[in-house]
Subunit: 230 residues, 2 copies
């Protein structure tokens, strides 16, 4: 049975951009289960699956509905144990939480503010109104103000990637010789940036950039097929 | 057969302090293999096991000699597969590298400079001469200068622990419901600080402090038996 993946889109339905939705899409592809992507603009998220207060990503697998990217990965691992593993055992499942929290603090911590105006520019008009209102309330400043310091903050951001860079000096993926869900957790954030913005987060010769290229090529280029923002 | 663990000590042979040696000691205890600790001051490290250029930790297990804390953990996992796992599978083994690199960048990055003078104060006289010379060359400043900004840097350090703190909000150990080698990697750095210095790295109500207490109690209080520096 085909799994439905509801994921966030802007004006162009072919360019899903949410980091958390990309984690779910990569996890589904990794498990090699058939899935269909349901483009979902911000202002329709609350209506999917007849639910109030739903968030994306959300999957429907037969009669089961699962939200939250990490929970989706856990669900897939448990439900499809014979497919390629997303965690590489219980230790990897536990440590993927650390990777998730690091990504949230360091990568989202920078991208989240830096790219707000770029995200907004990708949205359809009704979603722009929602996005500006909700994000400006959350950040306590305009979208443009939130991104104003991104050039000054870039060096510090790149330095904070050192644990990832140093890991990639000993192995091609965070998950080891091949990717695991931990890779998709970090990748999701960079793919988000890549799809919505031409702002260059990484030096071309950064080993993190080479890893990103490896991720873009995975699963028949699932993520690479969406062109980078010009 | 009893495994020998060579580990760094200062003037008091009963107070091993090296973070990397503590990782190895905790890994040996976790595997529940008998081991004997061989106190080794800085100026005798190069002479152990008749080797030139040896570093600690170093273990001898029968006719095998293994150095480097991560390599020791890998060796123990492979050699004693029926004992409690240090990695929880291949995914955990790979992601432990990420935890290691994060610890190196964030925790050692702060402690390394902040506690130099405290470390020096723990050493016997010949080791002090070696330590001061080698560390002042490495840092390009005196031991005292390297630690001068530690009060100003403390808030930033604590903020950088957020990925660890947030992980511990969902599970008691980085390794999940119980500790794995990834916990010992981070713990080693905090134990280092605890043994050599009374400088308070953590707020008492920090969830990281509670995790540290859990680690100190592990393996019959192996690490907790060494009293904190007064």
């Amino acid at each position: 049975m085909t799994i439905l993946l509801y994921e966030l889109v802007g004006a162009d339905l072919q360019r899903p951009f949410s980091p958390h939705c990309w984690k779910a899409a990569m996890a589904l592809a990794h498990k090699n289960v058939p899935f269909e992507r349901v483009p979902t603009p911000f202002t329709r998220v609350a209506t999917i699956e007849n639910g109030s207060g739903r968030t994306v990503p959300l999957i429907r697998d037969g009669d089961r509905v699962v939200g939250d990217s990490f929970d989706i990965a856990l669900y897939l691992e448990k439900t499809y144990p014979d497919r390629p593993t997303l965690f590489g055992g219980p230790g990897g499942q536990a440590m993927a939480r650390f990777v998730e929290r690091w990504t949230q603090a360091v990568v989202h911590g920078f991208i989240g503010g830096a790219l707000l105006a770029d995200i907004n520019a990708c949205l359809a008009a009704p979603d722009q109104a929602y996005f500006r209102r909700s994000r400006e309330a959350r950040f306590g400043k305009t979208l443009e103000e939130a991104g104003a310091g991104r050039h000054e903050g870039l060096d510090g951001f790149r330095r904070q990637l050192e644990p990832l860079r140093a890991t990639l000096a000993v192995q091609p993926f965070i998950g080891g010789q091949g990717p695991l869900f931990c890779d998709y957790i970090v990748f999701g954030a960079f793919q988000w940036a890549r799809v919505v913005s031409s702002f260059r987060l990484l030096d071309a010769d950064d080993p993190v950039a080479a890893w990103l290229e490896r991720c873009l090529a995975l699963h028949d280029g699932l993520a690479g097929r969406v062109a980078a923002a010009a």
